[in-house]
Every structure is written in structure tokens, then in C-alpha cells.
């Protein structure tokens, strides 16, 4: 693979980036989360967003702490519940650029049902899953994406479940933007974030993110040795081909880039009777008088 940048490449223009904070993080030194944060910061800055334009939603986990480390609006909810919170937030006011940044356990485990059904709603947001194939914050249990047989701090004899294939799952659910990237390749990651931001609808980026503390199998090197850029010949609008490509993972190589793309109407576009942000409708008690009069 090419272009592995340091996880801190963004540091150079930190000073004039309004998204960057000096808040100490509680992440481990060397963790892949730093580079994801930097990539988000930089992309937003390069695209001239202002902190006031952006709402970062998360659940609970190491990844989910991200909203505390960026200057933007934040909504740090409960473990597994970022997505429905984002749904409500978007319904209330769809003028923010909406991000979800959360872990693989948060998104595909505890939050699995919301993941499934909000893809069906086609919320308009960028969902960045920090997929370290482990539960980081709770100290090393297997996550839905941990490989069968892989030993963990809880599964002493190895995982007994088939791993979830998040990109194949998202494609099968009709997610209109399904991509994979790598925290160790911030250039690619930024590209993906930009493409996801440009997409109108549910844009999923499953990001391979080494957990240096608890996942000694899926390391930086493990990802680097296996990842490859999806060839240009791939037609991301072909759902069946995308599904086929999504089957490739692990030793067979890990395709990075946009696996699937499909344009479709978004959550808010499907509610045509709302023609402005919901928050902008003026409301008063007598609004119901018409309804009452019909009842006499």
C-alpha cells in the first residue's frame, strides 16, 4: 500500500484550524483514533466549514469520545444510541453538517438495530466507524468485527461468532455510500470523508483503526499489509459487484475506497410537508383551534 502518513500529519496547520482543541484526550499514545480526529479536523477546515456548522454525534466508547476533542456542536449520547439521536437531531434542524463518530461495538453491536433501520431512513450524514475490531474502553473484549477464533481479554479460547462484515451488511441494507478507509492512511481517509460529505444520504466509512493496547492481531502492520485501493475498474453503482467485492477481507486483502454508491432521496426529502428546518416553524397554542373546531 502507498502513502502511509504519520498519524499526526495534520499538526502543521493546527494553529489556524478552528476545529482543533487543546483538550487532552484520554486515548492511548499511538492509537489510530488520533489520525481519524486529525483527518476530520483537516477536512472540515479545508472545506471551509465553521465549528458552528457542524454537529458531531456519538455513543459511548473510546471512539465515541471524539466529540469532546473537536470544536463543534456535540451530542455524546449512550452506548449504541448515537444513530437515533442523530435522526432526531436532523429532523429538528437539518442545517448542520452531521457526523456520527463511534466504535464498532457501539455501531454494529449495541447499536445494530439502529444501524439497520436508519440506513433505511437514509439520514443525510457521515458515519465514521472507528473499527478497531475490539471493545477498547471496556478493555479488550471481542467486538462484532473480531475474527472467528481470535483470542481476546474475554474470549480466552477465541471468538465463537462469525465476524460481521459491515460493508456487505450496509450494501445489503441499501446504504447509498459504503466506503472503507484506514486511520494509517490519512490522505485516503480525508478523501473518503470529503466524498462522504459530498454525498446526500447515509454515508458509511468503516475505518480500520489499530487499537495498540487491546488488539495485537489487527495491528497497523496487519492492516497495511492487507489493504489495497479498490481498482478504478470497479463500478460502485453495481450492487452485486459491490457485494462481491465486500466479501474480500483479511488475508485475501482488504479493499479500501468506495465500494458502493447509489443516489436516493434522503430522510428529509421524503417528508415533503416540511419545507424548512423544523425548528424554524413558528408555533402557538391556537394553532390547534382549527382541529378543535372540526370536532364540535
Amino acid at each position: 500500500m502507498v502513502n502511509i502518513n504519520t498519524t499526526f500529519e495534520g499538526e502543521k496547520n493546527k494553529s489556524d484550524n478552528p476545529f482543533v482543541t487543546n483538550n487532552p484526550t484520554s486515548w492511548c499514545p499511538g492509537c489510530g483514533n488520533f489520525s481519524i480526529l486529525d483527518s476530520i479536523n483537516q477536512t472540515l477546515h479545508e472545506l471551509d466549514y465553521k465549528p458552528q456548522d457542524v454537529l458531531m454525534v456519538s455513543g459511548i466508547g473510546q471512539a465515541a469520545k471524539l466529540p469532546h476533542y473537536i470544536r463543534a456542536h456535540g451530542l455524546n449520547t449512550l452506548h449504541g444510541r448515537a444513530i437515533p439521536a442523530a435522526m432526531g437531531a436532523q429532523a429538528a434542524n437539518d442545517t448542520f453538517k452531521l457526523f456520527i463518530t463511534s466504535g464498532d461495538g457501539d455501531t454494529y453491536g449495541e447499536g445494530g438495530n439502529h444501524f439497520m433501520h436508519n440506513i433505511r431512513r437514509n439520514l443525510d450524514l457521515v458515519h465514521i466507524v472507528h473499527d478497531n475490531q475490539v471493545y477498547g474502553l471496556t478493555k479488550g473484549q471481542g467486538s462484532p468485527t473480531t475474527a472467528m477464533g481470535q483470542k481476546t481479554r474475554l474470549q480466552f479460547d477465541g471468538m465463537r461468532h462469525d465476524p460481521l462484515n459491515p460493508v456487505a451488511l450496509a450494501i445489503s441494507l441499501g446504504c447509498g455510500f459504503v466506503a472503507r478507509s484506514f486511520s494509517g492512511d490519512p490522505k485516503h481517509l480525508k478523501e473518503m470523508i470529503k466524498a462522504a460529505m459530498a454525498y446526500k444520504g447515509y454515508a458509511l466509512i468503516d475505518v480500520m483503526q489499530p487499537c495498540v493496547t487491546f488488539n495485537h492481531v489487527n495491528t497497523f502492520k496487519w492492516y497495511k499489509d492487507r489493504a489495497f485501493y479498490i481498482p478504478e475498474t470497479h463500478d460502485p453503482t453495481d450492487k452485486v459487484r459491490a457485494f462481491e467485492l465486500a466479501q474480500t477481507f483479511g488475508d485475501a486483502g482488504i479493499p479500501m475506497g468506495i465500494l458502493y454508491r447509489e443516489e436516493k432521496s434522503t430522510f428529509m426529502q421524503r417528508i415533503p410537508h416540511i419545507d424548512r428546518p423544523l425548528i424554524a416553524y413558528p408555533r402557538k397554542p391556537s394553532d390547534i383551534d382549527g382541529l378543535i373546531d372540526q370536532m364540535v
Binding site: N76, G88, R283
Partner: protein, 555 residues
């Protein structure tokens, strides 16, 4: 004058249609209406009935036994005598050859008159409308725009047939023609709409679904979003997400769904995001009795979610009160930035009542926001007990962090001892402030009472009717009905206890949940209790009977 009609049959046989026609027309001609649906958890078949009480004075509860019983099938007919008063009349379809009692509608004659498959039930409607003194022209209202003209016409023929079979016995009172017919779920929905509800997300669950259905039916007209969530967790979390972005938002469910919302209630509390949650109670535990009534979720709701925080529970007393109480719920949620639970039940949900038009002029939406640009704004200032709220986008500058941890005044995660204590103390202070804001209980009855009944929520209706009857019987009784049930002010009982010789707690559960909370909060003990926990609502007759048993026990 007070008469009760029961319409009984199987699910899908048109009970609701008969009920609706009778209610709508008798209300229109000036009667007071109070009706309640008693139905099984199934879609077709089984044994269901609606009880409709008709009076010239406001009524607040049903009677268990009817003056008129419309039997839509043989099972209903078999039940008729059990559900009729001694001099009650059963309306039933039959063959002249069969031995049937009371008002029999000859099947073959009916068939001649009308092709409608609902010929009998329409004839019963016609007959009853005449009994209650309606002119024949009201039958023109027996139209349903969803049906074909043909169906409406043959229905009308049957109704005329029935009309001609009876004689007027009562005359409509000349008063309340501008009343509206309202159900408890609809009243909650309208209360929310009048309060400026913008977003409602919920998962269907009897008996709460009616709130969502009504809101969905006016979604376009009211410019709101009603979202069916994938599960109850999503239902409340989406509502909290919407509220965190500034709109008034609500979710609703019954106990089983409420159970799934419990974690998010704590999130709303610690993130100080206003949220209104309707729990329309049904009997538990677990699936319990999905379409029946009980008041057994109060203790659960009062302590639901880990840790300690401030919350409000409001239990509307009547259909009318459901509207105003729901309206208040939103102002309270915004003022104190807390979860507010509207605790109703299947009784209230499936009650239809004639009530005065809601007066929206006197209502005022109070958002308690801070819309100014405030340098160094602290979303979670430790001394902010109420108001001063900002949400993302409320001004051009302020960044807002909505957080689920123990946090500092800006919302940043912290584990410091000082912040932990400050947050807790803020919640404690808030509880005290809320106690002083909530509505005092409603007192009703004989000022010189010796017996004081205590109740909450929908049980008020039957209890008030019972108190009226007991006073007529010469008993010195009064009632105290709590709509604002939690938190309770320590002093709330002080004005009432010294006079009462006997305090009787009346509630629709077995464990006296409210009575126990009252005892815990105020130290006041009740001397006796009247409970109902068979899934069916209280009637005033039941309360009077229990009261007499208690009194007898004392003598």
C-alpha cells in the same frame, strides 16, 4: 337523568361504529357523553364491548351495568343479563320463533328493509336515538364518508326501521351544543400540539398508539414530523436528539416500551434535555393484559434509571385535564430541563367524553431559552436550576455540548469530586424547586369531611362520581386527587390531615403505590385502601361498595 348503553360483540363486528354514531349524535343534540371501550387483545372475534353513559349532567365514570344492551352476536346476547340492570332492556336480532327477551329485531323483516350487513346494528342505533328523544332528521348524520353511497343508504333504511320501533323516553337537555367529543389519547396529542410539539417518535404499543395515530393524521396540517421508530429505545433517543436541537419533542408508549426507554431517561436528565414521555399504562407484568387498564407503573416510573436526578410525573385526572396537563408538561420540561412523564392509562386512553372546547387563549408557551449571545455561556452552570437554555444554532456563535457523563459546566467530561458533588446538588435543588412549582391536589367534596379519599390520575373520575353519590347518601366525605404525583411536597398533606378521621387511599393497583410514596414523602399514613387490579376500571358503585365494607369493618 343518567342512562347507560352497552354495545357488545366480537372484534370486527362494528361495535366502534355503533358507539361512534350514538355518541356523536347524542352529544350534538345536547347530552353529556362518557364512554369506555372494553376489548380483548385480538383483531377479530372474542368478546368486546363499549359502555356509553348518557346524561344531562357531566359524568366522569362508567357504570358496570346498562339500561340498554345492544347484543351484536349470540355470545353477547348470552352475557346480556349479567351486564344489564334489573329493568334493563336488551336489543337483539332474532327470529320471531326464537324465545328472546326485550327488544327483538326480526331478522327477516330487517333483511327486507335493508341490504346492509350491519342492518341490525344500524337499527339499534336508530332505536336508541329515538329513545333519547332525537328527531328523525338526525338519522341523516349516519353517514360515513369512507363508505359507498349505497352502503350509507341501506344503513339509513335500517336505522329508520329501528327508529320507528321505539318511542321517545327522554328529552335532550338544552345546553351544551358546543361541546366536543374527545378521547384521552387525542387530548394528550392535542395538548402536545398546542404546546408546539414538532417531533414525535414512538413505536406502536397498545394502549398508547392512539396518540401517535392522531398526530400522524394531522402531520401535514400541523407541519410536524411523526416518526415510527424501529424500537422504543430509538423512539425516545430520537426525541431527545430532536429536543437537544431545540424543538419540542415527545415519545409515548406503554409500560413494556417504557422499560426500554429507561436508560435514555437518565440521559435526558443528565444532559438536561427537556423531554416529554407518555406512558399509557396497561396491566403488567411483562405483556400482561395488553388492552386493559391498571395504575401500576407509578413506582416504576418514579425511580426508573440508574442514579439520582430530577424528574416530573403528571397523571391527568380526566380527558379534559389530559389536554391541559400535557400542555403544562412541555413548559415544565423546558423550565427545569428534565424528563416529564405523562402517566395515563387504558381507561383514559379509551374513554370518549363530551367536554368543553379547549381554550387556547389563556395558554402560553414558555421555552425558558437564552437567545442572546452570551460570552462564556455555561450550558450546565451548576447554579442554573431553571431556564437559560441554549441549543445548537440558537445563536450564531455558541457551541453546545450535550453530554451523558458527569461533566463540568460546559459539558466536558470530568471525574472531579467537585463537579460530581455540584451536579448532584444541582439536581437536588431542582427537585425542591419543582416541588414548589407543581400543582396542588384537587380537593372536592364535603368541607366538613370525616373521611378523606386520596387518589391520583384517572381514578379521580369514578371517585368523584362516588363522592357525589355518598354525599347524597349523607356521608361526610371528600377527595383529594393528585395530577402532579411526583415529586411530592413534604407539606402537601398538612392542610388536610388534622380534619380527616379516616384516610382512604384509592388507586388502580394492589400495592398502593401512590399511597406508599405519599407516606414516604410526607409521613401521612392511610387507614384503609380501595384497590382494583383485575384489569377493569373502577366504577363509582364499586368504590361505594368498598367504602361500605370498610365502614362496616369499623363499626
Amino acid at each position: 337523568m343518567k342512562k347507560t348503553i352497552i354495545v357488545a360483540g366480537a372484534a370486527g363486528e362494528g361495535i366502534n361504529t355503533v358507539e361512534r354514531f350514538i355518541e356523536r349524535i347524542l352529544k350534538k343534540v345536547g347530552y353529556e357523553i362518557f364512554s369506555y371501550k372494553n376489548y380483548m387483545s385480538r383483531v377479530r372475534g372474542g368478546y368486546n364491548y363499549s359502555t356509553i353513559v348518557i346524561s344531562d349532567k357531566p359524568i366522569l365514570s362508567i357504570e358496570d351495568q346498562a339500561d340498554y344492551f345492544v347484543a351484536l352476536n349470540q355470545v353477547a346476547y348470552a352475557n346480556a343479563r349479567l351486564q344489564l340492570k334489573e329493568d334493563g332492556i336488551c336489543l337483539v336480532e332474532g327470529d320471531p320463533s326464537e324465545e328472546k327477551e326485550n327488544l327483538i329485531f326480526d331478522r327477516s323483516l330487517l333483511k327486507e328493509v335493508s341490504k346492509s350487513k350491519n342492518a341490525f346494528s344500524m337499527a339499534a342505533v336508530g332505536a336508541l336515538l329515538r329513545v333519547f328523544g332525537c328527531e328523525q332528521e338526525v338519522l341523516n348524520d349516519l353517514n360515513n364518508s369512507k363508505w359507498t353511497d349505497e352502503v350509507n343508504a341501506s344503513n339509513m333504511q335500517a336505522a329508520v326501521f329501528g327508529f320507528e320501533k321505539t318511542q321517545p323516553l327522554f328529552a335532550p337537555p338544552e345546553n351544551l351544543k358546543t361541546r366536543i367529543l374527545m378521547g384521552g389519547n387525542q387530548a394528550v396529542a392535542l395538548g402536545a400540539l398546542s404546546a408546539g410539539l414538532s417531533f414525535y417518535s414512538a413505536y406502536p404499543m397498545a394502549p398508547s398508539t392512539g396518540i401517535m395515530t392522531y398526530l400522524a393524521s394531522v402531520e401535514k396540517e400541523m407541519h410536524i414530523i411523526v416518526e415510527q421508530a424501529e424500537d422504543e429505545i430509538a423512539g425516545i433517543m430520537a426525541a431527545v436528539g430532536a429536543s437537544s436541537n431545540g424543538v419540542r419533542a415527545m415519545t409515548g408508549t406503554s409500560g413494556g416500551g417504557f422499560a426500554l426507554k429507561v436508560e435514555t431517561i437518565g440521559f435526558a436528565a443528565v444532559s438536561e434535555t427537556p423531554i416529554v414521555i407518555a406512558n399509557v399504562q396497561r396491566p403488567g407484568p411483562a405483556t400482561g393484559l395488553p388492552t386493559r387498564t391498571e395504575q401500576a407503573d407509578l413506582a416504576f416510573v418514579a425511580t426508573a434509571s440508574q442514579g439520582e436526578f430530577s424528574r416530573i410525573i403528571l397523571a391527568p385526572l380526566t380527558v379534559e385535564d389530559a389536554f391541559y396537563t400535557t400542555f403544562r408538561a412541555f413548559n415544565l420540561a423546558d423550565e427545569y430541563q428534565v424528563p416529564v412523564v405523562i402517566l395515563t392509562d387504558q381507561l383514559l386512553a379509551d374513554t370518549t367524553q363530551s367536554i368543553p372546547k379547549f381554550k387556547t387563549d389563556d395558554l402560553k408557551i414558555e421555552r425558558h431559552l437564552n437567545t442572546e449571545i452570551t460570552p462564556d455561556y455555561k450550558r450546565y452552570a451548576f447554579d442554573q436550576i431553571s431556564g437559560n437554555r441554549k441549543y445548537p444554532g440558537i445563536d450564531a456563535e455558541t457551541l453546545i455540548m450535550t453530554d451523558s457523563h458527569v461533566h463540568d459546566e460546559y459539558g466536558a467530561v470530568t471525574e472531579e469530586v467537585e463537579a460530581t458533588l455540584a451536579l448532584k446538588r444541582k439536581f437536588l435543588k431542582r427537585i425542591e424547586a419543582i416541588k414548589k412549582t407543581l400543582k396542588k391536589p384537587l380537593f372536592y367534596g364535603d368541607q366538613a369531611y370525616e373521611t378523606l379519599f386520596i387518589t391520583w390520575g384517572s381514578t379521580y373520575g369514578a371517585l368523584k362520581d362516588a363522592v357525589d353519590e355518598l354525599i347524597l347518601k349523607g356521608e361526610k366525605v371528600a377527595l383529594l386527587a393528585f395530577s402532579d404525583v411526583f415529586p411530592l411536597d413534604k407539606e402537601v398533606m398538612d392542610p388536610y390531615v388534622s380534619q380527616a378521621k379516616c384516610i382512604i387511599n384509592v388507586e388502580g393497583n394492589a400495592m398502593n403505590q401512590f399511597g406508599m410514596i405519599l407516606r414516604m414523602e410526607t409521613g401521612v399514613m392511610f387507614d384503609a385502601s380501595i384497590n382494583k387490579y383485575d384489569g377493569r376500571p373502577f366504577s363509582s358503585a364499586y368504590i361505594i361498595n368498598e367504602f361500605e365494607v370498610i365502614n362496616h369493618g369499623k363499626h
